[in-house]
Amino acid sequence: MLKVKNLSKKYEKILAVNKVSFEIDSGEIGVLIGPNGAGKSTTIKSIAGLLRFDGEILIDGKPNKSVEAKRIFGYVPESPALYEYLTVWDHLEFMARAYKLEAWEEAAEALLTRFEMDDKKKKIGKELSKGMQQKVSICCALLIKPHVVMFDEPMIGLDPKAIKELKEMFVELKNSGCAILISTHILDSITDIWDKVLIMNKGEIVFNNTRDALAASGESLEHIFFSKTGEEGEAQ
C-alpha cells in the first residue's frame, strides 16, 4: 500500500506540489494524470525518494526513504537511462544483488522472454534502443517482486506487443496484491485497467476518485480531465 500524506515540495520560491494526499491500496491500480507542469514528476520523484519534501510518504507503512521500504518498491522512471557498459543481464544481476534476491535467474529469464529481450541478454546498455532500454527498466523493477510499483510514462517507446504485455502485467500485479501507480499523459493507454484516478493541476490533486464512482456519475475520464484542468488537447 502506498500512502502519501500532505506532500509539499518547494523549489526555491516555487511551490511545485502543495499538500497532496492520496492512497493506493494493495491490489489497486492508480493513475496520476495532469497537464505539463502540474507537479506529477515532482510527486513521482518524491515517492521514489529522490527529493526532499514536507509531509509523509509510506510504503507498506514504512517511510519511503528507509531501506525496508525500498526493498519492496519498484520504480520505472520516465527516462530509461541504463549503465552504458552493463549488459541487460548485468542490470538484472545488479538488481538481484542490491535487493538481495535469491534464485532470481528463472524469473529474470521469464521477464526477458515476455518482453522479447531474451536474445539481447548480452547486449550492453549503449547498444540498446530507447524502447529496449525501457523494457530493461521494466524488467528490473518487476524482478524484485515489489509490493508497490510506480511507472512514469511506461508506454513511451514500447512496441505494440510490449504494450500489450505490460498491460497484462499490470493486471497480474494487481491480482497478486501489488499497489500500482502509473503516471501518464496518454489516457487511452490505461482506459481499461485503472481503479483509481488522481488528476493533478497546479501542484494539487484536483480530482481523486474510483472507477466505480466515476461510472456511476456517467462521466468519461477525458471529460473529467478537461473540466478539472481547463486543458484542451493535452491528453490524447
Binding site: 526555491e12 529522490l50 527529493l51 531501506v67 525500498k70 541504463l82 549503465y83 552504458e84
Partner: protein, 522 residues
C-alpha cells in the same frame, strides 16, 4: 556496497571485452597505451630545465592561474547545478535501491577516482613541457600528479557542499555567485593594475598569482602550493597546502559519510546536466553546450537550396555568440595563444607571429569544433535537401570557415599590432588559420566516414588528432626547410598555408559523400 562494486567491476570487464571484440579498437587502445606510457616515461625520466630555467615566480604564477581557472569554473557550475559523481543510470537504479546513501556516496568516490585518471593524463601531457622550461626537483613530477589528484577529489565534494548550502535558502545561490564574481573581478583588476606598472606579462603573472595572499588562500592556494613544491621544494606553503587539503577532503568525506544523508536531490540536477554534457561532447558540440540562447534576435532566414543551411547556422551563431562570431571558442583560442606568446621568452623576435599561429592551430585542433555540421548530421533534414553532396557539405561547413576567419582576423591583427608584425605576415597567418580549420573539419568528416561513430569518443578524438598531426607533418617540414633557406616568416607561413590548402581540397573531395545517405554517419 557489494552490489555497487559489482557495477564498477562489471563495467570494466565489459569495456575490456568490447575492446577485444574489435581488433581496430584494440590497436587504437594499444596505441593510446603506448602514447601514455611514453609520456609517463618522458615525464619521469627526462632531464629538467633542458631548454631554459624559467623563474620560480613565473612557474608559481602559471600553476596558480591554472588552478584558479579550474576551481572557478567548477565552483561556478557546482553552485548552479551541484557537482556530481553520478550518472542518470545511478539515479534510476542505485538511488531507489535498498542501499544506504552513505554507501552510494562511497561508490561515487570510487568512480571519481577513475575520473582522476583523465586529469592525470592531461597533466602528464604537460609535464615534459614544464620540465623543458623549469628546473623541477627530482620528485617534482610526483607532486604535480598529487596536486591533480587532490583537485579531482576535492572539487566535487566542495561543489556538493556549496550547492547543498545554496539551495536551502532563497538568495544564497545569488550570494555565492556574487562572491565568486567579486573575487574574480578583484583578481582581474589586480592583474591589470600590476601589468600597467610592470608592462611585463611574465612579471605580473608571478607578482599576482605568486603572492603570499594567494599561496595560503584556502583550497585554490593550497592545491597550487602542492604543485609548486615541485620546483620550490617542501616549503611551509607546501605543508600548509597538503595538510589543509587532506584535512578538507577527509573531513568533508567523514561528515558526509556519517551524516544522515539526504543528498539525492542535490546531485539530481548535476547528474542530468552531466548526461546532457556527455551527449554534447559525443556530438562534438561541447563548447556550444549550456550556452544561453539570446532572445529577441531578429534576423530573417535567407538563402535558397543548400545555402539555407548556412544562413540557418548564422542565425544560430547570432543567438549563442557573445558578439557576432565571438564566443567561448574565440576566447579560448585567442586568449591562450596570446598568453602562450607572452609567456614564451623573447628569443624569437624575428618570427613574431609563428608561435601565436602554432599555438592557435594546436588549440583549434584540441577544440575540434565541427560548427553546425555535427548537429546537421544528427537530423534527417540535410539528407533530404535536393542538392549535390558537395554543395551540402560546402554550405554546412561555411559557417565554420566564416567563424575561423573572424577568430583568425581578430587574433592575428591583435598579435600583429602587439608584436609588430608586417601586414603580409598577418594576412598569411589569417588565411593559414582558416585553411587549417578546414583541414581539421573535413578530416573529421572523412574519419567519420571511415570509422563511423565507434565505441569510444575518446578513442575517436585521439585517432583524429593523430591523423591530423600526421597529415600536417609534411607541410611543417616543408615550412621548416623554406625558413632555413629564405629566413622569412612570411614564406614559411605561405608554405604551411599552401600545404593546408591542398589538404583541405583533397579532404573535401573525399568527405563530400557523407551526405549521400544517413548510413554513412551512423
Amino acid at each position: 556496497m557489494r552490489s555497487l562494486l559489482f557495477i564498477i567491476r562489471r563495467t570494466l570487464k565489459n569495456i575490456v571485452k568490447g575492446v577485444f571484440k574489435k581488433p581496430i579498437l584494440l590497436i587504437g587502445y594499444l596505441f593510446i597505451a603506448f602514447f601514455i606510457v611514453s609520456m609517463v616515461f618522458a615525464s619521469f625520466a627526462m632531464p629538467t630545465g633542458l631548454i631554459r630555467s624559467g623563474s620560480p615566480d613565473l612557474y608559481v604564477g602559471i600553476i596558480t592561474m591554472v588552478f584558479v581557472l579550474m576551481y572557478y569554473s567548477t565552483f561556478k557550475l557546482g553552485i548552479d547545478k551541484g557537482s556530481t559523481y553520478f550518472r542518470m543510470a545511478d539515479v534510476n537504479f542505485a538511488f531507489p535501491a535498498p542501499v544506504k546513501p552513505n554507501h552510494i556516496l562511497l561508490y561515487g568516490f570510487i568512480k571519481q577516482m577513475g575520473g582522476t585518471l583523465f586529469f592525470l593524463f592531461i597533466a602528464i601531457c604537460q609535464i615534459p613541457n614544464l620540465k623543458n622550461n623549469f628546473e623541477l626537483k627530482p620528485y617534482g613530477t610526483w607532486l604535480i600528479l598529487f596536486s591533480v589528484i587532490i583537485y579531482a577529489l576535492s572539487y566535487p565534494l566542495i561543489s556538493m557542499f556549496l550547492y547543498s548550502w545554496a539551495t536551502k535558502k532563497t538568495g544564497r545561490k545569488k550570494l555565492l555567485k556574487r562572491i565568486i564574481d567579486i573575487l574574480s573581478l578583484v583578481a582581474a583588476a589586480l592583474t591589470l593594475l600590476d601589468l600597467a606598472k610592470t608592462r611585463n606579462f611574465i612579471e605580473t603573472l608571478g607578482n599576482v598569482f605568486g603572492s603570499p595572499a594567494i599561496k595560503y588562500f584556502p583550497v585554490i592556494g593550497w592545491t597550487s602550493s602542492i604543485a609548486t613544491a615541485s620546483l620550490n621544494g617542501f616549503t611551509t606553503e607546501f605543508w600548509v597546502g597538503a595538510v589543509g587539503m587532506l584535512v578538507l577532503i577527509v573531513g568533508a568525506s567523514i561528515i558526509l559519510y556519517r551524516m544522515n544523508l539526504d543528498y539525492y536531490e542535490d546531485v539530481l540536477e548535476g547528474a542530468e546536466f552531466f548526461e546532457e554534457a556527455v551527449k554534447a561532447k559525443r556530438e562534438g558540440r561541447n563548447l556550444m553546450f549550456n550556452l544561453k540562447v539570446k532572445k529577441g534576435v531578429k534576423q530573417k532566414l535567407s538563402g535558397t537550396g543548400p545555402s539555407a543551411i548556412f544562413f540557418k547556422h548564422l542565425l544560430e551563431i547570432r543567438k549563442t555568440a557573445l558578439l557576432l562570431f565571438f564566443d567561448r571558442s574565440s576566447i579560448t583560442v585567442i586568449v591562450s595563444a596570446l598568453a602562450f606568446r607572452l609567456i614564451m621568452p623573447h628569443d624569437a623576435q624575428e618570427l613574431p607571429l609563428s608561435l601565436v599561429l602554432y599555438f592557435s592551430l594546436y588549440m583549434l585542433l584540441l577544440i575540434n569544433m565541427q560548427g553546425g555540421l555535427s548537429s546537421e548530421m544528427d537530423k534527417h533534414y540535410i539528407f533530404l535537401i535536393p542538392a549535390s553532396p558537395h554543395e551540402k557539405l560546402f554550405f554546412a561547413t561555411l559557417s565554420g570557415h566564416t567563424k575561423n576567419f573572424f577568430d583568425g582576423s581578430l587574433l592575428f591583427i591583435l598579435s600583429g599590432i602587439l608584436f609588430k608584425a608586417p601586414i603580409n605576415t598577418i594576412v598569411s597567418c589569417i588565411i593559414t588559420y582558416v585553411l587549417f580549420g578546414a583541414v581539421y573539419l573535413y578530416s573529421d568528416v572523412v574519419n567519420q566516414k571511415l570509422f563511423g561513430r565507434i565505441h569510444s569518443k575518446g578513442l575517436m578524438i585521439f585517432i583524429k588528432a593523430m591523423i591530423n598531426i600526421l597529415i600536417v607533418v609534411p607541410g611543417a617540414i616543408g615550412a621548416g626547410i623554406v625558413l632555413a633557406i629564405t629566413e622569412s616568416e612570411f614564406f614559411m607561413i605561405c608554405v604551411l598555408g599552401g600545404w593546408s590548402f591542398v589538404l583541405a581540397v583533397t579532404l573535401f573531395v573525399f568527405a563530400a559523400g557523407i551526405f549521400s545517405n544517413i548510413e554513412t554517419v551512423s
